[in-house]
Every structure is written in structure tokens, then in C-alpha cells.
């Protein structure tokens, strides 16, 4: 098992290095720079600033210097927030984003899993068609449409929930979590339905019924585990999608998370900030993919044995 984990972590290094390299040069290719603005800056001031942030060095040297800093865990100073480092800014934005992501994942797994399992128990009936149709709509509807619609309905029309904010008014975390989690709930619903249908047609389900177990025990004890393995394997990619989606949701609901820093950094050509968040998020995504793979393998005794030996 450990060899498998360590091997996967080693594989992640070139992946993250490639992400850094591509991002580093891409942001430089983009027109404009961090100190360009409507007001002309005095050339001497601009030169001094560029020298301070090492922007006067040749690109190759800048790249190597950045890698050197990164190796020590330093993401560098932010260009747009003078006096604050990217590490500090990420630390400031992370809690809100992490919380939002966790709730959204919870929404996705609980709602999606439940809908999928319920639908699979009576295929091709109303119990199947209704949740699956809703799921289809969920997949088709983009977050930037769903968010405002939910706000309109629950925030403005019914006045049940706050329309924006994060942790200020009770209940203000519900709408953002729902908005972000909805699409993934829909995917998970379809995955778990397919997984459960497959498992419920297996011979060992018939064996369980022949033992006299009531149907709910057949489902919970014998079918769920096998049926939900595809969902577990999907959690890693889902987490990546949630992070990407959180930028939109944070903007809609005015949440002080990482996403807004990231988007603003891109507009401002805040090179270190863009790079820093990208490196941080890609590392997280790699870790979560690994985690969901390990979990899926652990749920399957056959794979567990294989990795155990390897």
C-alpha cells in the first residue's frame, strides 16, 4: 500500500512541475504587466518596482529563482497587495473556500447518492424518472445561471435565505453550497444509479434474497458498497471541478475566498499570485485524486490485496 502511495506522489511531481512551467510562461505571454495602469507611472519608479520584484532579470533566471523559492515553500510577494506575501493571501482565502468546497461536496454526495440509489431501486418508474430528470437539468445548468435563480427564488421572492455573504447571517452558507454542489450532485446521481443497477443484477444479490434478508438489508448490506465505488472514484475529479466552480460562486455570493483573489490576480497580472494559487490548487487536486483512488481501492478487497502486495 505504501509503495503505491509513494509511487503516486512521485508521479505527481512532474505533473505539478509542468503546471508551474506552463503557467509561468503563459502569464508572461499575456499582454500587459502588473504595473501597467491607466495612469502612467514614472519610468524610474516602474524600473525600481521591477527591480524589487526581480522583473528586470532575464526570463530564464526569473523562472529558476521562482523554483528556488518554491522549493523552500515561498510563493513570493504579491504585486498588487504590497507588503503581503502570496502565502498570507492564500491562508486568508483558504478557510472560506475550503468550507464552501466541503459543504458543496457534502451536498453532492448526499443528495446525489440518495437520488441515484432511490432511482435505481425501481428502474423505469416515476421513482426513477423524476430524480433523473432533475439530475439531467442539474448537469445542463451552469453555476452562473443556477446561483442567481436560487437567489431570486429563495432570497428575494420567498425571503427565506440571505442573498449573499459568508458567515455573517445564519443560513447564508446554504445557497452557495447548493449552487456549487448541484451539478456534482447530478453527476453523482447518475453514477450511483448506474452502479447500483449493475450491482443489483448480480448473482450475489439473488443469494442475499435467498437468505431471507429484507430488501432494505439486501440494498444496504450487499449492494451499496459495490454500487458506490464508481462514485468514490469520481470524488477526486469532482473536487477539482468544485474548486474551479467555487470562483464563480464566490463572486456571485460575495464570499471572501481564494477564488476571488485568483480571478482578480489574473486581471491584475499579479504574476506571483496567479502562480501561487495555481501551484497550491493543483497540488490539492493531485492529492485528492490520490485520496479517492486509495479509498476506491480500499473498498474493493481485490484491489486492496493487489496494492497490498505491490
Amino acid at each position: 500500500m505504501w509503495r503505491f502511495v509513494v509511487g503516486r506522489l512521485l508521479q505527481a511531481i512532474p505533473v505539478i512541475l509542468a503546471v508551474i512551467t506552463v503557467t509561468f510562461f503563459l502569464v508572461r505571454i499575456a499582454p500587459g504587466g502588473p504595473f501597467d495602469s491607466e495612469k502612467a507611472v514614472i519610468p524610474e519608479v516602474k524600473a525600481a518596482l521591477e527591480a524589487q520584484y526581480r522583473l528586470d532579470l532575464p526570463l530564464g533566471q526569473q523562472y529558476l529563482a521562482y523554483l528556488g523559492d518554491l522549493a523552500q515553500g515561498e510563493l513570493g510577494p504579491s504585486f498588487k497587495y504590497p507588503g503581503r506575501s502570496v502565502n498570507e493571501l492564500i491562508a486568508a482565502g483558504l478557510p472560506a473556500t475550503a468550507e464552501l468546497g466541503a459543504y458543496a461536496l457534502l451536498v453532492a454526495v448526499v443528495l446525489g447518492g440518495l437520488a441515484g440509489v432511490v432511482a435505481s431501486l425501481k428502474p423505469n418508474s416515476a421513482q426513477d424518472y423524476i430524480p433523473m430528470s432533475v439530475a439531467m437539468i442539474g448537469i445542463c445548468m451552469p453555476t452562473f445561471l443556477l446561483g442567481p435563480l436560487l437567489v431570486l427564488l429563495f432570497g428575494i421572492h420567498l425571503e427565506w435565505l440571505p442573498v449573499a455573504g459568508w458567515g455573517d447571517i445564519p443560513g447564508d452558507k446554504i445557497l452557495p453550497s447548493l449552487t456549487l454542489g448541484a451539478a456534482y450532485a447530478a453527476y453523482i446521481a447518475r453514477l450511483s444509479r448506474a452502479g447500483m443497477l449493475e450491482v443489483m443484477s448480480q448473482d450475489y444479490i439473488r443469494t442475499a434474497r435467498a437468505k431471507g434478508l429484507p430488501e432494505w438489508q439486501v440494498v444496504t448490506r450487499h449492494a451499496l458498497r459495490g454500487g458506490l465505488i464508481p462514485v468514490v472514484a469520481f470524488l477526486g475529479p469532482a473536487f477539482a471541478g468544485l474548486l474551479a466552480g467555487s470562483f464563480v460562486v464566490e463572486t456571485i455570493f460575495q464570499i471572501p475566498g481564494l477564488g476571488r483573489f485568483y480571478v482578480q490576480a489574473a486581471f491584475n497580472r499579479d504574476y506571483t499570485m496567479i502562480l501561487g494559487t495555481t501551484v497550491f490548487l493543483s497540488t490539492l487536486i493531485v492529492l485528492f485524486n490520490l485520496l479517492s483512488d486509495i479509498l476506491a481501492a480500499w473498498l474493493n478487497p481485490r484491489l486492496r490485496a493487489q496494492y497490498g502486495e505491490a
Binding site: 434474497r209 435467498a210 437468505k211 431471507g212 459495490g226
Partner: protein, 528 residues
């Protein structure tokens, strides 16, 4: 009074093509302390009848139209799902056909085994575990203490079937329904499992329903036999009456289908088409580990026009030999001379040309045919690929092949799922013969088929062998089947040839202990 008394049972299925009566007003009795066998081909309704008694059929599409099934003074067909559940797994238990798929791969064997006990009786987990250990020992598992917490994939097929039996018996049921419990197993394992079921039944004095397509399987253990055909019970009687004085033509057909006797001796010896010298096929088992010696230093020859039988259990290396000859697996060492050419070193075009002369028929006609290709596509592909027919003449070629393997020409545009197992195997044989090969490897071509179909396919292969002048390597775990078709037989054990000779020689005077075991394992050998 019988333990179970079924009367007037009718089960219908609603299908896309209308209603089908799967079980048509049948009746039979099962006595306590006796084994009642229900025999019939696939689709005869034998399994459906038993599943319907326990409410294990999906409703819809199934519906029980009429009948009664008195068990212990109660009519099973009138019970509510709740009441029936109390009986399932406690008073009536089941064993299924395929032990590979019937155990839950995500649960330890012990947890699955204890489940019926914990659900139906008031026992603690410790008590249940102790009982499970006792039963595992009783069904012949070595070292239950250490295997009880393992997962099904760590067990062989025979061991899993023993676990299934233990699971069925853990509540000491009054009736055991065994649905083709040995069909997916090798002959030697089958003999062990049959012996075990009979022994446990005698010891507990319970009633058993034994469902099978093969009369010979129940020849040694059944007390009563019920023969079903197309939803009807066509004949009933005790074992002796059925085997010695069967009246119904269908029963007689089933009896005739049991492979018996050996092939008439061939003509004068001809030259060797295939010479295998010191063949070794080893598989790597990862770094540092000893390689698996699937085939270890095997030498033999096959004469032109001869059918050579290769017999052994799972893991004996018999399939690997067949694959090695066709270069479907890499050969580790040794020579395979085909008509004087060593095929182990052929590459590219030479290999492709050689492949045209050698073909393979696989075991499972369900898995080996591409479900998205019609019969026409399947048969036309090799004809065109090897340039045997041109685009203009390919249709005629396909139809000729269909005639040869006994498929109606009208089926030419149909897809594999529209055919029965026997028909599919005919398609597979047609595909193998399309290139007009000189040599065919048939890897367990009949072991997935019902006995009656098996007999037809064996007949077809013998006939085509003569017609095409084929040389054949016939691989099977079943000595009786091989004897029926092969001129000469090699017995294989753990990758090595332990004995060879004509079928009669092996049957009448086996020299090796292992061959004797294989002979002992043939079901109903008294009939042969």
C-alpha cells in the same frame, strides 16, 4: 405426506413478444430425506419453477398464474413476502450455479456465512461465528480459522461452492434447492461436491431438489427424477425407472446425449502434422517470484487428420498448450513444428499466413463473439481478410459456411444475442473454419452447453473434421467428452503430460493414479 407438494403450477413471463408460459401446470413431490432431481435443458422451466416457490422471480415480468405448493402444511404461493422471507434461508435454502458470482465479493466469507443465522435466529455473533467455523470444517475447508475472514476471490471455484453449501445449511433447513450446483466446475471438483451434497443430505435427513441439465450428474445421487421439457413435466419416476425404462422420447434423448463410448479407431497412421518438442510456457509472477510453469517440458505429435484430446483440471496448463501452438501466448522454450516449420519463431507475414492454417474455437460462445457483428459480418471478416473470397463471392461463401455448421440461411443478418448457446457455438465453429484451416484448437468448446446441445455440437465437429480433413486438438476437463471425439488422449497434470493413449486404453487400464481419479470423477460412470 411429502415435504413439498407442488400442484398445477403455472408461471408466465411478459416479454416484448407477448406472454410466454415458462412453467405449464406442473406438479411434483419432494420427500423428506430424499434427493429429487429436476432435469431439463435451458429454458425447460426447471429453475423458474423452483424460484417461483420462494418468491425469487422478478414480478413483473414473471407472474404466477395458478398452483399450490404445500410445504410444512402451508401453501408457499399464498404467503406474504414477509412470511416467505421467514422461510427463505431458514426452512428452505438454496445453492446456485456459479460460485464465482454468487458470493458477495465485498464481504468476508465469514460475514456472509453468519448472515442467515444472525438474521433468522437469536444468536450472538460469537455463537454464529463458532457455528460457521464448525460448518466450514464440515464441508471440507482446510483451516477454517484462518480462511473465515478471507474474501471470496481468495478461494477456488470448488471451495466457494463449499462455502455456498455451508451458508445454505447453517440454519439446518428442511429443504435444500441446488440449482446446477456443479455445472460451472471441473469434473473432479464436481464429483467432490456431488459427494458432499449427498453425504450432508443423508446425515441431516433433509429433502433436496437438485436441478440439472445433465442426467448423468444425478445418476449416482438422485432418488426421484422429474424430467421437464418446455415447461411441462414429461416424465417422473425413481432413478431406476428413469435410467432403465424411460418411456418418454425426450428422456430417452437426454439419456442418449450422455457422452459414452469411444471414437472408432482411425485409419492407417499418417505423417505428423504437428510436432511439439519440450514446450515450456512460463508466466512471470512479478519481480523476484518464481515464474508460473503453466506448461513444463511437454512433447507430443499430432498426425494429419487426427483428433488429439487434452484432458486436465483447471490450472493443468491444457488451454495454455493450445494457445502456445497458435502463438497466442509467448512460448518460453521449445519447438512447435507445423508441417515442418517452427512456428515459435515466425514473424509478420509468415505468421499471418500460418494463422490462416490454424484456428481456434473458444469455450464461451457468449463472450467470444462480437455482439455488434451479425453472423454475416463475423463469417465474412476472415474470408475477406485472408483473401479467400472476393467482395463479389463473399456472400456465397458465408452461406456455404452456414450450411456446413447447420445454421439456417435465414439467420444471416442476426446478431449473437438472438441465438441460443448451441447456435452461437455453431457460429464460432463456422468462423474458425472460414479460412479452411488444416488445424483447429478447440478449447472446451462444449463445456458451457447443455448435454443435449453438447451431443449435437460434438457430432457436428466430428462430421466437419472428416469433411474438411481437419487435424484437431480438443481441450477439455471432461474425460467422457474427450473419449467420445478423440483418437488419442493426453492426460495433463500441473503442466506435464502424465499419461497418453487411446480412449479405450485409458478407460480400461489407466496406469497413473491421476488418470484413475479423473475416471472416478465422471458422473454416472456406471452408465457407460
Amino acid at each position: 405426506m411429502p415435504l413439498l407438494s407442488v400442484r398445477d403450477l403455472q408461471v408466465d413471463f411478459t416479454t416484448r413478444n407477448g406472454r410466454v408460459t415458462a412453467v405449464n401446470r406442473i406438479g411434483f413431490d419432494v420427500e423428506a430425506g430424499k434427493i429429487t432431481a429436476i432435469i431439463g435443458e435451458s429454458g425447460s422451466g426447471k429453475s423458474v419453477a423452483c424460484y417461483s416457490l420462494l418468491g425469487l422471480l422478478p414480478v413483473p415480468p414473471a407472474s404466477i398464474e395458478s398452483g399450490s405448493a404445500l410445504f410444512d402444511g402451508r401453501d408457499l404461493l399464498q404467503l406474504s413476502e414477509r412470511e416467505l422471507r421467514q422461510i427463505r434461508g431458514r426452512d428452505i435454502a438454496m445453492i446456485f450455479q456459479d460460485p464465482m458470482t454468487c458470493l458477495n465479493p465485498y464481504m468476508t466469507v465469514g460475514n456472509q456465512l453468519m448472515e442467515p443465522l444472525l438474521y433468522h435466529r437469536k444468536v450472538t455473533r460469537q455463537q454464529a461465528r463458532a457455528r460457521a467455523l464448525e460448518l466450514l470444517a464440515e464441508v471440507g475447508l482446510r483451516d477454517p480459522e484462518s480462511t473465515i475472514d478471507q474474501y471470496p476471490h481468495q478461494f477456488s471455484g470448488g471451495m466457494r461452492q463449499r462455502v455456498m453449501i455451508a451458508m445454505a445449511l447453517i440454519n439446518e433447513p428442511k429443504l435444500l434447492i441446488a440449482d446446477e450446483p456443479t455445472t460451472a466446475l471441473d469434473v473432479t471438483i464436481q464429483a467432490q461436491i456431488l459427494g458432499l451434497i449427498a453425504e450432508l443430505q443423508r446425515k441431516r435427513d433433509i429433502g433436496v431438489i437438485f436441478i440439472s441439465h445433465d442426467l448423468s450428474v444425478v445418476a449416482d445421487i438422485a432418488d426421484e427424477i422429474v424430467v421437464m421439457e418446455k415447461g411441462h413435466v414429461v416424465e417422473r419416476g425413481d432413478r431406476q425407472a428413469i435410467f432403465e425404462a424411460a418411456e418418454h422420447p425426450y428422456t430417452q434423448k437426454l439419456l442418449a446425449a450422455i457422452p459414452a463410448g469411444s471414437k472408432a479407431p482411425g485409419e492407417v497412421p499418417r505423417d505428423d502434422l504437428i510436432q511439439v518438442r519440450n514446450l515450456c510456457t512460463w508466466f512471470s509472477q512479478g519481480r523476484g517470484a518464481e515464474p508460473l510453469r503453466a506448461v513444463d517440458d511437454v512433447s507430443f505429435t499430432i498426425q494429419r487428420g487426427e483428433v488429439l484430446g487434452l484432458v486436465g483440471e483447471s490450472g493443468s496448463g491444457k488451454s495454455t498448450i493450445g494457445r502456445s501452438l497458435l502463438r497466442l501466448v509467448p512460448v518460453t522454450r521449445g519447438e512447435v513444428l507445423f508441417d515442418g516449420t517452427d512456428v515459435t519463431s515466425l514473424q509478420g507475414t509468415a505468421l499471418k499466413q500460418m494463422r490462416r492454417r490454424m484456428q481456434m474455437i473458444f469455450q464461451d460462445p457468449y463472450a467470444s463473439l462480437n455482439p455488434r457483428m451479425s453472423v454475416y459480418d463475423t463469417l465474412a471478416e476472415p474470408l475477406l481478410l485472408h483473401g479467400i473470397e472476393s467482395r463479389k463471392t463473399v456472400e456465397q461463401g458465408v452461406l456455404r459456411l452456414m450450411d456446413d455448421v447447420g445454421l439456417a440461411r435465414a439467420f444471416v443478418r442476426k446478431y449473437p444475442h438472438e441465438f441460443s448457446g448451441g447456435q452461437r457455438q455453431r457460429i464460432a465453429i463456422g468462423r474458425a473454419l472460414a479460412t479452411r484451416p488444416e488445424f483447429v484448437v478447440a478449447d472446451e468448446p462444449v463445456s458451457a452447453l447443455d448435454v443435449t446441445i453438447q451431443a449435437q455440437i460434438l457430432e457436428l465437429m466430428l462430421e466437419l473434421g472428416r469433411e474438411y480433413g481437419l487435424t484437431m486438438l480438443f481441450v477439455s476437463h471432461d474425460l467422457a467428452v474427450v473419449r467420445h471425439i478423440a483418437d488419442r488422449i493426453l492426460v495433463l497434470y500441473k503442466g506435464r503430460v502424465v499419461e497418453q493413449g487411446t480412449g479405450d486404453a485409458l478407460f480400461n487400464s489407466p496406469r497413473e493414479e491421476y488418470t484413475r481419479q479423473l475416471l472416478q470423477a465422471i458422473p454416472g460412470r456406471g452408465l457407460l
